[in-house]
Symmetry: C2
Subunit: 152 residues, 2 copies
DNA sequence: TTACTTGCAAATCTTTTGCCGGTGT
DNA sequence: ACACCGGCAAAAGATTTGCAAGTAA
């Protein structure tokens, strides 16, 4: 079982780049959607709907944020990043410099470059035939400190 | 960074077995907690708080279920199983520590024995110091078939 | 034009909290 | 006895929905 070249979603260069993609996918590029995407572009971490709502230039109704995020996900511009407890989080597709290791005890999240997980991904693909996308779910466990505390 | 021997929680034989563990951990073994544990014992899948509440013999207030689950988690008898969207789910510790590989395209889920992921876990701990519990989250990606279809 | 979107309000679902009386150890 | 726990009620938090008006394509 070889490991085929992984397809990592390509990153969007800028808002207009996303706009093109959204329209190409048959979606509309409205002002609220633009603002949501701007907030995600500016963020250095996945945002909750509530955070998006607070970061946009002009205020948006929560329902609008939720619907925009869902549509943009359907259109391939945004992806959910599940982080265990708490509200759902979203990030731009291809904003792939980031994969996450989350500690379920202290809640700290470590961000790592995707390449650092390539070997592990290759290993899983070799063993199980699965091509895992760690960017959709974090790897959840105990960080070194909490693991040590547990052992003690 | 060495990887310490992993402690996998042992499965509980029966309710009294859990009762012992809970008391040993300094917790109290009340009737509501017993009922919650009975529901989890009887279930063949992780349950939401709401499901627990509907399955217990005598009705329990939702707040009680939530508090019981949280305490029991703290006491090491119960563990959260995150499945993406939807309400949180819980399972007995050691109850079929199944681990999952989920395909996001065809939705098939492959269940694997925890040992089959031990090497990968060790690798992650060596690289990042994280002790990952795959049983809390599935590994999400593309199964072999869907990956092949994508490559084509 | 026409179907898809938004904003608003209200509903729903999930989980948490305050308080006080009850209970396990 | 005493600290912890359960039930009730209410609140908080997160997300969804109905509907009429607005707008991108």
């Amino acid at each position: 079982m070889t490991h085929a070249p992984r397809t990592r979603p390509l990153a969007f260069r800028d808002i207009d780049d996303v706009a093109r993609a959204v329209r190409a996918a048959g979606g509309r590029f409205s002002m609220p959607r633009r603002r949501v995407l701007e907030a995600l572009f500016a963020a250095d971490e996945p945002l909750t709907a509530e955070q998006v709502g607070r970061r946009v230039s002009e205020p948006l109704d929560p329902a609008t944020v939720y619907r925009a995020l869902e549509s943009l996900e359907q259109l391939g511009a945004v992806r959910p990043v599940h982080a265990g407890h708490g509200p759902g989080r979203y990030a731009l597709v291809g904003d792939g410099e980031r994969e996450y290791l989350a500690c379920e005890r202290c809640r700290r999240v470590t961000t790592v470059a995707p390449e650092r997980l390539d070997e592990i991904r290759a290993r899983i693909e070799a063993d199980f035939g699965y091509r895992v996308a760690f960017s959709h779910f974090p790897l959840v466990g105990l960080c070194a400190d909490c693991a040590a505390a547990t052992d003690a």
